[in-house]
Amino acid sequence: MGHGPSSDWSFDRASSFKTRVGIWMFLLYAIIYAGFIIVNTFDPQIMGSDIGGYNLAILYGFGLIVFALMLAFVYNATCTAAEEELNGPTPDLIKEEEETD
């Protein structure tokens, strides 16, 4: 089951930037997710309150799913832009190191 590196990343000058963006976005999502747990644990009645035809539980739940997707899109756009700017539009990143064994 041995294998080599999945791809050659040594050309990627954007990696530390991407890691920072990733951690900040993770923290943002974690806070909103934690908010969901905290409201449910400490004041579950609020979750039943009406907002239009829905209630907060449904909207918050759907919101967590949709927000995850939105963050993923923003993250992708930010990372792609950083890669192009810092690495140049060279095909370096596309270079794939073949499996060694």
């Binding site: 747990i37 995850a68 792609t80 890669e83 990143l93």
Partner: protein, 660 residues
């Protein structure tokens, strides 16, 4: 039991045969390419993204979540939210830095930095334990699927999947290729959309069409006279037999009518009058009886031998309201109308309670009128509201589950591997985003499939895992057969992937590297196959043992074990320079022992052992909130106390790589 349709069997077997052929075909082809991972390099990110979804949406999602929503409403949907949120951790925190370490798996990544025997052993053990925990729900799901479809018993289903998978793994090697997962993932989403559209079109009604052939059972309510202290029915065709107090405030009555005994729930109606509501019941006999074919059976459904009886399917809307108006039915509804209809109505769910009836054990499934508002907010399974008697431990249990779901995905070895099947970093990222979109969309659908099952009289009271396929069955046998076949194929794919991962941990990580047995390639493959057979047989036993438990609930445990054992090691390796090999090994061991130990001592497991829930030494069913921080803490303490050895720290190497 269930009526079996020949057409359903034909559709099912041809689909499964096609998937098996496809697995085999691609498995042969990947052998001629430069191995599985290199072949993955050619795959387009959009295909890979859907394949991710095919891999991730296992039995837990389609069977387990829908089943739990059908029984407990919103509390099942919490799993959808948590499973999806887990991808955020995988995408933003773990995946790219892990990939930068240049390794595919958790074990390799950890070990490449330290080359430590301790890490080799503990990481391999952790892969084994997590794989086995993840295998249990898949096997339970497989057993559940074949019962209504092929008319086979749960055990036969489990053995069938186990045998099929062992054959696949032992002959073709890595069976689940990206294309097979792509096909299954795509079809699962398409057919789930179809099921939701039909559910919305069918709408809401107080008289559901549970089956195309049989009308839905009309549950009776009897007025009773309590003046004697016993519920004596006003309807003289029933005579009172006995009452049993199953729990505080929960009394069942046994009545007799024309020589047949029936069970009822003694309660009050909406006007506060004493009534008996009709219940379903399952009897476990001490002395077996003969069924119509002369076979001995020890289980009765509503007093009839299980083999002669219909399945116990129920659940309906008692009082359908829309915009504060009572209506008999709402057809062709939109999503907002569907949710509003549920919210304003009163729904009959069925709860169960075992009681003693002479020497026999009777499980009574009694009606519980539940306001739609409660169904669309958390609290029916995981108690959170102090006003309704939730204790501190109940709240902790809820928070613990949500934490484990959030942190578990990024710690599952077989999910991490999937991130590396495409060529470039941007393609890997894009495929993850396609995966999040597909999985998120599917999880939104689970709410409608689950609620649809809840109100359409299709939930099998003895095992809620089949709710979504049975909802499909109420609309047509073809839809049912196709959806069941996709679910079954998904189980096959997930199980073979997990067994390959577990056997790899034994043959590669343990025998070859840890014990230094220096196996030849041929012997390594052989050892792997033997390990696959052993793990497969273990999984079959566990699958039979955990019959009837909700699949998603079991996966929640697998997530807790994975998050406790692996995540602290991954995160600290990537982000803390002081991490040492001993710290990692200690944290993995702590994570496994504490999470598995707490699960084995939990009230849920005590119930499985046949003991009282209250006698469990730990009052928490979900261990994550204790075992995950504990594992982090042990890693930090052990690393600090073993730091002098000046190991090459991973963080330094990463900085070096980034500077170049």
């Amino acid at each position: 039991m269930y009526d079996v349709s020949t057409w359903a069997i034909i559709v099912f077997t041809s689909f499964v045969a096609f998937v098996l052929w496809m697995s085999y075909y691609f498995a042969r082809r990947t052998k001629t390419a430069k191995g599985y991972f290199a072949a993955g390099g050619n795959i387009h990110w959009s295909v890979n993204g859907i394949a991710f979804a095919g891999d991730y949406l296992s039995a837990a999602s389609f069977l387990g979540i829908c089943g739990m929503i059908a029984t407990y409403g919103y509390d099942g949907f919490l799993y959808s939210i948590g499973y999806l949120a887990g991808w955020i951790v995988a995408l933003f925190v773990v995946a790219e830095p892990m990939k930068r370490l240049g390794k595919f798996t958790f074990t390799d990544a950890l070990d490449s930095k330290f080359n430590s025997k301790g890490i080799q052993l503990t990481a391999a053990l952790s892969t084994l334990v997590v794989s086995i925990f993840y295998l249990i729900p898949q096997m339970v799901g497989a057993g559940t699927l074949v019962t209504p479809l092929l008319g086979l018993s749960h055990t036969t289903g489990v053995v069938m999947v186990g045998t099929l998978v062992i054959i696949i793994v032992a002959t073709a090697g890595m069976a689940s290729t990206t294309y097979v997962q792509f096909l299954k993932g795509g079809l699962l989403i398409i057919f789930s959309i179809a099921l939701v559209i039909v559910t919305l079109y069918n709408g809401l009604s107080t008289n559901p069409n549970a089956s195309q052939h049989d009308p839905y059972h009309q549950f009776k309510t009897l007025a009773v006279d309590m003046s004697s202290g016993k519920p004596v029915p006003a309807d003289k065709s029933y005579t009172f037999v006995s009452t049993t107090e199953a729990a505080k405030g929960l009394t069942f009555a046994k009545l007799s009518s024309q020589g047949t005994e029936t069970w009822w729930h003694s309660t009050k109606d909406a006007n506060g009058l004493d009534v008996l509501t009709e219940a379903y019941w399952v009897t476990n006999l001490v002395i077996p009886v003969k069924d119509s074919k002369g076979n001995l059976v020890s289980t009765l459904y509503n007093g009839i031998p299980i083999t002669d009886s219909k399945p116990l399917q129920a659940g309906h809307i008692k009082d359908l309201k829309f915009k504060d108006q009572s209506v008999a039915e709402l057809r062709n509804v939109s999503i907002p109308q569907f949710l509003r209809g549920i919210k304003e109505s009163t729904i009959i769910r069925f709860l169960s309670k075992p009681v003693k009836d002479g020497d026999n054990k009777v499980t009574v499934y009694y009606q519980k009128a539940t306001p739609g508002r409660e169904i669309l907010t958390p609290g029916l399974k995981f108690k959170v509201d102090a006003a309704k008697g939730a204790t501190f431990m109940d709240k902790l249990n809820f928070a613990s589950l949500m934490l484990a779901l959030f942190l578990g995905t990024a710690a599952l070895p077989h999910i991490l591997i999937r991130y590396y099947t495409v060529a470039t970093p941007s393609a890997a990222r894009k495929s993850t985003i396609v995966a999040i979109a597909a999985i998120g969309f599917f999880y939104i659908l689970t709410l409608f499939m689950g609620l649809g099952a809840m109100v359409n009289g299709v939930v099998d009271l003895t095992d809620n895992n089949m709710s979504a396929p049975l909802l499909a069955k109420s609309f047509g046998i073809t839809l049912f057969a196709v959806i069941s076949a996709i679910a079954f194929a998904t189980v096959l794919g997930t199980v073979s992937g997990l067994i390959v991962a577990a056997s790899g941990a034994v043959a590669h990580d343990l025998m070859d590297r840890f014990f230094g047995m220096k196996l030849t390639d041929h012997n390594k493959v052989r050892a792997g196959k033997v390990a696959a057979i052993v793990v497969g047989i273990m999984a079959m036993f566990l699958g039979v043992m955990f019959k009837g438990m909700n699949v998603s609930y079991l996966v929640g445990w697998a997530f807790a074990v994975a998050a406790s054992a692996n995540l602290p090691a991954i995160i600290m390796l990537l982000f803390w320079k002081g991490t040492t090999s001993k710290g990692i090994a200690a944290s993995i061991v702590t994570g496994i022992v504490s999470s598995v130990g707490m699960i084995l001592l939990s009230p849920d497991m005590f119930e499985k052992y046949g003991l009282l829930r209250s006698s469990a030494p730990i009052a928490l069913d979900n261990p994550g909130i204790i075992s995950i921080p504990l594992s982090f803490l042990v890693l930090v303490i052990v690393s600090l106390s073993t730091k002098k050895k000046a190991e090459q720290t991973p963080a330094k190497e990463m900085e070096f790589a980034a500077a170049n």
